[in-house]
């Protein structure tokens, strides 16, 4: 098999037998998925993955553009055209190696990347109907590789003698680690929690991204030579200065993620039954609270109760679909704009609807009401209408006077974004952050104000997506490699 360190192969000629005119007419192959009635009560993965036959059928639709816009729009620059051609050839391991040249976590991005905003959104087939199923194909190839992976075939790059510390094992950290180890640097990843994966583990539920997939991808990285250490909160357990001065790291990459959950600052947010999405999802995903009492972490009893998630992003959908699986009676999304402005992936919205999630659009809570014993009883909400576009380009929600209404609620989960975690900022002198507390880093090299220290992902940009964080991890790896080889800052 090919290995992660295989040099780039020259472009090949297409063996796709279908004429271009015919390809446009071919329908997109559907992703097989579990029955919504059944899966709404289980945490097992919803999507089942393409078969080899479906994958080849879908791959045949690729128009093999001379200037592939899909690759241009990919934050890590995956060579879509070539890996898809290799699927047409039936050489799935070669396809996997092709993806790995640019993306060390294909089984993860194949599942959670918002492809419609990147490769699939840029696909020329979109103009004639449905885009190529690039995400589904990537997932197929990655899963195939996983089944057939031969660790003995890994070729390690000659050691450079340079040590890099990666702070945080989320998507940006793992990507940087994967890229740097392939250059021959010694890479050590520090993780604050007890499992490797960061937001992939604590944030994204099993039904969308099984933990086993992350473990397998991490295991491949271990085989490639990346070292992992859990239970280390950099800033508290060891500082960045100590890593560089006392532990001999030549460079540090900070990929700690966005961090602190935001609340609305409305009355009643301290009532029992009001959660941040981070806490709720951490209990479910990292701590397995849905398997209580087999696992010790407890969870409020959701069975038959009214549950609302406030927010419209992927986190909001993960939280409400998890609530459904915990047995929530009425489960709904409360979002202050309309469905068109929801930042969530299209597929998640579709899946949520199939699972009976209600969408209450253009509404926001004003207050959470008490049952007299410290528990949430209801939310007083207000209706909204859309006004002029705001800084985000989306139409601004404007409250409608006199539209207040009350809805009975046992659980409310706040999924309205996060703010920067202060620990590294407070414990790293000279590290420049912006007004909001996010670390300032160069857009191309991810260099910070501190020599040898790089940063990327949500801790630089604020809450974004897995693939954007991976893109930053990639750029940082390039920047770090250049710094380590030239010594120039």
């Amino acid at each position: 098999m090919s290995t992660p360190t295989t040099p780039k192969t020259p472009p090949k000629k297409s063996s796709n037998p279908v004429p271009n005119k015919e390809r446009i007419k071919m329908p997109r192959q559907h992703m097989p998925e579990r029955d919504p009635q059944i899966r709404a009560h289980q945490f097992t993965e919803v999507n089942l993955g393409y078969s080899e036959e479906l994958a080849r059928q879908e791959a045949l639709r690729c128009l093999e553009c001379a200037k592939p816009t899909c690759t241009e729009d990919c934050p890590v620059g995956v060579n879509v055209k070539e890996f898809v051609q290799l699927i047409v050839d039936g050489d799935f391991m070669a396809a996997a190696a092709k993806i790995r040249e640019d993306n060390v976590l294909p089984a993860i991005t194949g599942r959670v990347c918002p492809q419609e905003d990147h490769c699939e959104g840029a696909c020329l087939l979109c103009k004639r109907g449905e885009s190529l199923g690039i995400g589904y194909l990537e997932r197929f190839v990655a899963d195939y590789e996983q089944k057939h992976f031969d660790v003995t075939k890994i070729v390690k790059a000659p050691p450079t003698g340079k040590k890099v510390a990666i702070v945080g094992s989320g998507p940006s950290g793992l990507t940087a680690a994967g890229d740097l180890v392939q250059k021959g640097h010694q890479v050590h990843v520090f993780e604050a929690l007890h499992e490797i994966g960061g937001v992939l583990v604590y944030g994204i539920p099993e039904f969308r991204l099984p933990k086993q997939i992350i473990r397998e991808q991490v295991d491949i990285m271990r085989e490639m030579g990346v070292e992992f250490e859990t239970d280390v909160v950099v800033g508290r357990t060891v500082t960045i200065d100590e890593l560089m001065e006392e532990e001999g790291y030549d460079a540090v990459f900070i990929g700690t993620g966005a961090g602190l959950p935001q609340f609305m600052g409305i009355p009643g947010e301290h009532l029992n039954g009001v959660y941040s999405a981070n806490e709720f999802l951490t209990r479910i995903n990292l701590m397995h609270a849905y398997e209580f009492p087999k696992y010790d972490e407890p969870m409020v009893d959701f069975r038959g109760k009214n549950v609302a998630v406030i927010g419209g992003g992927n986190t909001a959908l993960d939280a409400i679909r998890s609530s459904r699986r915990l047995g929530a009676g009425k489960a709904f999304i409360l979002y202050r704009r309309s469905e068109a402005e929801m930042p969530a992936r299209i597929e998640e919205v579709k899946h949520a609807k199939q699972e009976g999630i209600e969408f209450q659009m253009l509404a926001a809570p004003l207050e959470f009401l008490d049952d007299g014993k410290g528990w949430l009883r209801a939310a007083r909400c207000q209706k909204m209408e859309l006004g002029e576009p705001d800084a985000s380009g989306r139409r601004r929600p404007v409250p409608i006077e006199g539209s207040e209404y009350e809805i009975p609620l046992a659980v409310a989960i706040m999924a309205i974004g996060t703010t920067a975690n202060p620990i590294i900022r407070q414990t790293t002198p000279g590290l420049v952050t912006n007004k909001k507390g996010y670390i300032q880093a160069d857009e191309n090299t991810q260099k910070t104000s501190r020599k040898g220290v790089f940063a990327g992902g949500d801790i630089v940009t604020g809450g974004a997506t897995v693939i954007l964080a991976m893109g930053a991890g990639r750029r940082a790896a390039k920047g770090i490699h250049e710094y380590l080889t030239t010594g120039k800052w």
């Binding site: 604050a192 929690l193 007890h194 604590y202 859990t230 239970d231 280390v232 909160v233 508290r236 357990t237 060891v238 993620g257 961090g259 602190l260 959950p261 609340f263 600052g265 947010e269 301290h270 009532l271 029992n272 959660y275 941040s276 981070n278 806490e279 951490t282 209990r283 990292l286 701590m287 397995h288 209580f292 009492p293 087999k294 696992y295 010790d296 972490e297 407890p298 969870m299 409020v300 009893d301 410290g374 975690n421 202060p422 620990i423």
Partner: protein, 294 residues
């Protein structure tokens, strides 16, 4: 895995563990805590650090059996290991020469107050320590506290040892005697900390309490440990665990800490039942064997 180099009960239901955790030992400062997870299926709970030994690379934690996890932890012996220990977490105590500092430790909270008392003494303060316990057995670290304090008072709820009464009775005496107090640091059960806060608020004595809300990650990520501080949300793990006692809404803390009471009770009942079955199992087997022989 982190090895337990020493484990010993220091009072009924209260055990001291010395755990090999060199990174934490090196960095720990007074006022900070750790989060532990006993095993693969375990929950994460915050625990007090009594002290640490940077040279030996060990930290001491003092654990009172309350729920399942603490019972399970206290069943571990020297030579066993725990799955995870992470820290030191939270902001260290603000240590400076305030003048006269009254350090109040209630029950197992005394273990957390101890390193702060010690540091306050080193910083040049006059340290008056009040240790409270329900009974004689639950008066912890008296000897250690005497070594770092100018004066130590001990109270027990039942009067079985030292002075009968509450730590606040002693504090009131100090105030009424006209003792100049520049700072009060109170660590213990919530009702105790609330009572101390109420008393010093009237006297306008700066008072710091160390809070123990429900917590998962301990790094600011989950927001489960949020406490209401003058109507504003603050996170005990990154903004605390020490807060100005006069600004804390203790009622909300009590209410939030009761959130999982039912589940916690179930966990503990299941655990005790499991233990009971284990201890009865051999006896039952013998009984069955005898039955068979008949």
């Amino acid at each position: 895995m982190f090895k337990i180099v020493h484990a010993q009960f220091i009072a009924p239901g209260i055990k001291r563990f010395i755990i090999e955790a060199p990174r934490i030992a090196r960095k720990q400062r007074p006022g900070q805590f750790v989060i532990i997870r006993v095993n693969e299926h375990g929950e994460r709970i915050p625990l007090t650090i009594e002290k640490s030994d940077p040279e030996k690379g060990t930290v001491n934690i003092v654990v009172q059996s309350i729920g399942k996890t603490t019972h399970l932890l206290n069943s571990l012996e020297t030579g066993d290991s725990i799955m995870d220990i992470v820290g030191p977490l939270g902001k260290p105590s603000e240590i400076e020469n305030f003048g006269t500092v009254v350090v109040i430790g209630g029950g197992v909270g005394t273990a957390m107050a101890y390193p702060s008392a010690s540091a306050m003494k080193k910083a040049g303060n006059r340290v008056i320590t009040i240790i409270g316990g329900r009974n004689k057995d639950l008066v912890l670290l008296e000897k250690e506290m005497r070594e770092v304090s100018d004066t130590v008072f001990v109270t027990t709820d039942d009067g079985g040892y030292a002075d009968k009464g509450l730590v606040t009775d002693k504090l009131r005496q100090l105030i009424e005697n006209g003792t100049r107090i520049d700072l009060v640091l109170a660590v213990g059960p919530i009702p105790m900390m609330r009572a101390v806060a109420d008393m010093t608020r009237k006297e306008r004595i700066k008072t710091v309490v160390s809070l123990n809300p429900i917590m998962i990650d301990g790094t600011g990520m989950c927001g489960g440990c949020r406490v209401l501080v003058e109507g504003k949300s603050e996170f005990a793990c990154v903004d605390g665990p020490e807060f100005d006692a006069h600004r804390v809404d203790f009622a909300v803390l009590v209410q939030r800490n009761a959130m999982y009471r039912e589940a916690e009770k179930r966990s503990l009942d299941d655990y005790k039942q499991e233990l009971e079955q284990k201890s009865h199992a051999p006896a039952e087997e013998t009984a069955c064997a005898l039955e068979g022989r008949k």
